[in-house]
C-alpha cells in the first residue's frame, strides 16, 4: 500500500467516508444535481487525493461519455468518476471535471448520506443546462 501522499485542504471539506482523506471543497462544487446508482452526486471542478482508473465508454442519462473511475488515495475505495470526454456538444462542459458520489463522502459538517430508494436509482448523470 505504501505511505500515501495526501494533500491537505482548507475550507468546507468533503472527505472519504472510510478514511477521512480530503477530497474536495464546497467552493469547487459546480452542481449538486447529479445522480448515481447510490443517489445524489456532485460535480466538482477540482478534486485531490484520488487516483484515476482506466478510461471507458459509458452511456449516461445525458448521452455517451468517456469516463474513468476515481479512487481514494488513502484507502482505495471508489468515490466517483472523472469525465474524460463528452460525445455531445452540450455536455462538453463536463470534460475534465469530477463527480463525487454523496454516499461515498462525509460532508463538511461530517454528515453522511444514506442511500434512499427513489426513482432515480436506475440512472447516473444528469444536470443539464
Amino acid at each position: 500500500m505504501g505511505l500515501p501522499f495526501l494533500i491537505h485542504l482548507e475550507g468546507k471539506i468533503y472527505s472519504c467516508k472510510h478514511c477521512q482523506t480530503h477530497l474536495g471543497i464546497s467552493d469547487d462544487i459546480m452542481s449538486r444535481s447529479f445522480h448515481c446508482r447510490h443517489g445524489k452526486a456532485y460535480l466538482f471542478s477540482k478534486i485531490v487525493n484520488v487516483t484515476v482508473g482506466l478510461k471507458e465508454e459509458r452511456m449516461m442519462m445525458t448521452g455517451l461519455h468517456t469516463v474513468s473511475d476515481i479512487f481514494c488515495v488513502g484507502c482505495g475505495s471508489i468515490v466517483g468518476w472523472k469525465y474524460e470526454a463528452a460525445h455531445e456538444k452540450s455536455q462538453k462542459y463536463k470534460e475534465g471535471k469530477f463527480i463525487l458520489e454523496r454516499f461515498k463522502v462525509s460532508g463538511p459538517d461530517g454528515s453522511h448520506y444514506w442511500v434512499s430508494h427513489d426513482p432515480h436509482v436506475g440512472g447516473s448523470d444528469a444536470d443539464d443546462a
Partner: protein, 584 residues
C-alpha cells in the same frame, strides 16, 4: 585548455618572438644577439625542418619537449639520465650562462652571480632589477646571520637602495638591522641553518621571475599531464570513479559501467513496508524505517556487505522518517503523526522522546551543531527543540498536516520547508529573509544536496525538478520516467560529486538520471513492490540502497560482468576520441 604554448606569463614578459631559444650548443659563448637567432629560425634548413615539430597534430616543438623531459628527469633525481639526454639530443636544458648562474647562486657567489645575470638572454630591465634585488636580499640576510652588520648596512645603502624598487621592502630590511625580532620574522627563511635550503628557495623564486624559456618552471611536465587528465575526467560524462583509477596508459572514460546496476544484496529484517532509508554521513551505516513500527540500523562493512546491527522498537505508529545526527552517533526517527525518538546509534538505546500533547509530529531534522532539532507538527507549525526536550520556538510554516519534509543547511542558516502546496520556503530566521521555490504543481517531497547547493523537488505529476538554491532559486533540470500516482516517493543525489539523481517509483524500479544532462541512465527492476525511498552511499559512489513495499531493502552495486570486460584492456592512445559526447 592549453597545449605547450599555454605557459603562465612570467612577471615581465620579454618581447621576443615566442620561439624556443634554439639549439643551445655546448661550447658557444652566449653573446650572440637575439636577432641572429630569429634569422636562423625564419629559414629553417631543409633537412631539419621536419624534425623540429613532433606529434601527429603538429603542435609540439621538439626542443621544448626534450627540455621539459630533461627537467622532469632532474626533478625525479635522475641526474645521470638527465645529463645523458642533454648529451644525446644536443639540446641543453639551460644555456651555459644560466648553468653558471645557478651554480653561483647555490654557492653564494653573489657578486659573480649578478655579473652572470646580465649575460643571460631574454631578460629585460625589470626582471634584472627584481632578480638582483632577490639576490642582494639573500646576501643581506646572510651577512646579518654572520653578524657582519656594518657590511649589511653598507650593502643596503649602496647596492639595494639604488635599484629603485620595492621601497617598502627596503624599509623592512633596514628595520631588521635594528630589531632582532623583526629579523627573526622576516629573514628566518633566508638565514636558516641550512643555508643550502634557503639558497634553493632563492633559486626557485628567481625561476619564477625569469621567462619560462630561460629556466623551465618546476614540474612543468607533471602539470601538463595533470591538465590532460583533468580534461579527460571533465569530459567523462558518466564519471563516477575514484582518481586512483585514472591511468596514463589509456584515455579515461567511465561509460555507464561505473553506475550501480545490479542487486548485490537483499536485506530482510522488516516485517512490513519500508518507507524510508538513509546512509549515515560517513557511509558506514544505513538506517531504515518501516510501517512495522521499527527502525533498523544496518552496518556497511569494508567489503561492501551489509548486516543488521540494531532493531529499534518503541514507536507505536509506522515510522515515516529517520535522520542521522551530523556526527552519525545519534539517530532521530519520526512516527506517523506521533512522536520523534532520539536514539544512540551505537548502543541502540532510546535517549529521548519528543512529543506535543494532543498533536502529532510529522517530520524531523537536525541542526548542524547537533544540539537542536526541528520537527513538523500536525497543526502546521514547525517546532525547534533542544536535545533535552525543551521547546525553544514554534512558528506556523507548513501547509500539510500528514507528511512534510524539513531540512537545515549545513551552515545552520536556512530552514527549508514546504510552506504551500506548490511552494518551498527557504527561511533565514536571523536576517528575517525568505527565498521561495515556486512550482506549478503540488510538491510531494524534497531532498537537499550534500553541499546545500541544490534541492531536488518531487512533484505530484511524476516529475522531479532540480533547483539551484545558492542565490536566488533557479530551476535547472527536470527528470521524468518514473511512476508516482498515490504514494510518497523520494529521490536523492549521489555518485561522484553528486553527478547523479536517483528515485524510487511505483512501478517497483529504481531510476537513475544524469544530473546535469537530465537523461535517464538506469531503470533497475528487482523489487516486488513500490520503491518508496532511495539513498546513495556518500562515501562509496558505487553503492545505492532502495526501500520497498515488498518488505525488503536492496543494495545495488556495479555490474560484475562489465567490470571484468573492462580489465581485459583495450588500448587507446588518444587517436580515436573515446568519450561519449554530451548530447545536450
Amino acid at each position: 585548455m592549453g597545449g605547450v604554448d599555454d605557459n603562465e606569463p612570467p612577471l615581465k614578459r620579454v618581447r621576443v618572438p615566442t620561439v624556443e631559444s634554439g639549439r643551445l650548443l655546448k661550447n658557444s659563448s652566449f653573446s650572440e644577439p637575439v636577432t641572429s637567432l630569429v634569422g636562423l629560425m625564419a629559414r629553417p634548413l631543409a633537412s631539419e625542418g621536419k624534425e623540429d615539430i613532433i606529434g601527429s597534430k603538429g603542435v609540439i616543438k621538439k626542443v621544448e619537449f626534450v627540455r621539459i623531459i630533461t627537467k622532469a628527469l632532474y626533478s625525479l633525481g635522475y641526474e645521470r639520465s638527465g645529463a645523458a639526454l642533454e648529451d644525446e639530443s644536443g639540446i641543453y636544458l639551460h644555456s651555459s650562462a644560466v648553468n653558471l648562474f645557478r651554480k653561483q647562486v647555490l654557492d653564494g657567489y653573489w657578486d659573480e652571480s649578478l655579473v652572470t645575470l646580465r649575460k643571460i638572454d631574454h631578460l629585460d630591465e625589470n626582471i634584472l632589477k627584481s632578480a638582483s634585488f632577490l639576490i642582494l636580499e639573500q646576501k643581506f640576510f646572510e651577512l646579518l646571520g654572520k653578524n657582519r652588520i656594518i657590511d649589511a648596512v653598507k650593502m643596503l645603502r649602496s647596492e639595494i637602495t639604488p635599484l629603485g624598487i620595492k621601497r617598502k621592502r627596503v624599509h623592512e630590511l633596514s628595520g631588521c638591522i635594528v630589531s632582532s625580532s623583526k629579523l627573526a620574522l622576516l629573514g628566518s627563511a633566508n638565514m636558516s641553518t641550512e643555508s643550502a635550503n634557503s639558497r634553493m628557495k632563492l633559486l626557485e623564486e628567481l625561476q619564477k621571475l625569469f621567462p619560462p624559456t630561460v629556466m623551465i618552471p618546476e614540474r612543468r611536465l607533471e602539470h601538463l599531464v595533470e591538465q590532460a587528465l583533468n580534461v579527460q575526467r571533465d569530459a567523462c560524462y558518466f564519471h563516477n570513479s575514484l582518481d586512483s583509477t585514472l591511468s596514463l596508459y589509456t584515455d579515461h572514460q567511465c561509460g555507464t559501467g561505473q553506475i550501480p546496476s545490479q542487486t548485490t544484496q537483499v536485506l530482510h529484517g522488516h516485517h512490513d513496508e519500508i518507507w524510508f532509508l538513509q546512509f549515515s554521513n560517513n557511509g558506514k551505516y544505513l538506517a531504515s524505517s518501516s510501517s512495522d513500527r521499527s527502525v533498523i540500523i544496518w552496518e556497511v562493512h569494508e567489503d561492501g556487505r551489509v548486516s543488521l546491527k540494531h532493531t529499534l522498537t518503541g514507536h507505536e505508529k509506522p515510522v515515516i522518517m529517520v535522520a542521522w545526527s551530523p556526527d552519525d552517533c545519534q539517530l532521530l526517527s519520526c512516527g506517523m503523526e506521533e512522536v520523534v525518538r532520539r536514539w544512540d546509534a551505537i548502543s541502540g538505546e532510546c535517549l529521548h522522546v519528543y512529543e506535543k500533547s494532543g498533536l502529532g509530529l510529522i517530520s524531523c531534522a537536525w541542526f548542524p551543531d547537533g544540539k537542536q532539532l526541528l520537527c513538523g507538527v500536525t497543526d502546521q507549525n514547525i517546532s525547534l527543540w533542544d536535545l533535552d526536550g525543551k521547546e525553544l520556538e514554534s512558528w506556523k510554516g507548513l501547509r500539510a498536516t500528514r507528511t512534510s519534509d524539513i531540512a537545515v543547511t549545513k551552515d545552520g542558516k536556512w530552514i527549508i520547508s514546504l510552506c504551500r502546496e506548490t511552494a518551498i520556503s527557504l527561511l533565514d530566521r536571523e536576517a528575517k529573509r525568505e527565498k521561495l521555490i515556486e512550482e506549478e504543481q503540488t510538491i510531494t517531497t524534497f531532498s537537499l544536496s550534500k553541499h546545500d547547493k541544490f534541492l531536488l523537488v518531487n512533484l505530484i505529476n511524476q516529475e522531479i525538478h532540480l533547483w539551484s538554491i545558492v542565490d536566488e532559486p533557479m530551476l535547472i533540470t527536470k527528470y521524468k520516467g518514473h511512476k508516482r500516482s498515490r504514494l510518497v516517493i523520494r529521490s536523492c543525489f549521489g555518485g561522484f560529486e553528486q553527478a547523479f539523481v536517483a528515485s524510487g517509483s511505483e512501478d517497483s524500479q529504481v531510476y537513475i538520471w544524469h544530473r546535469d544532462g537530465g537523461d535517464l541512465v538506469r531503470a533497475l527492476p528487482g523489487h516486488a513492490g513500490a520503491v518508496n525511498c532511495v539513498s546513495w552511499n556518500p562515501t562509496n559512489h558505487h553503492m545505492l540502497a532502495s526501500a520497498s513495499d515488498d518488505h525488503t531493502i536492496r543494495v545495488w552495486g556495479l555490474n560484475r560482468v562489465n567490470l571484468k570486460r573492462k580489465d581485459s584492456g583495450y588500448y587507446c592512445n588518444g587517436v580515436v576520441h573515446q568519450c561519449n559526447g554530451n548530447s545536450k
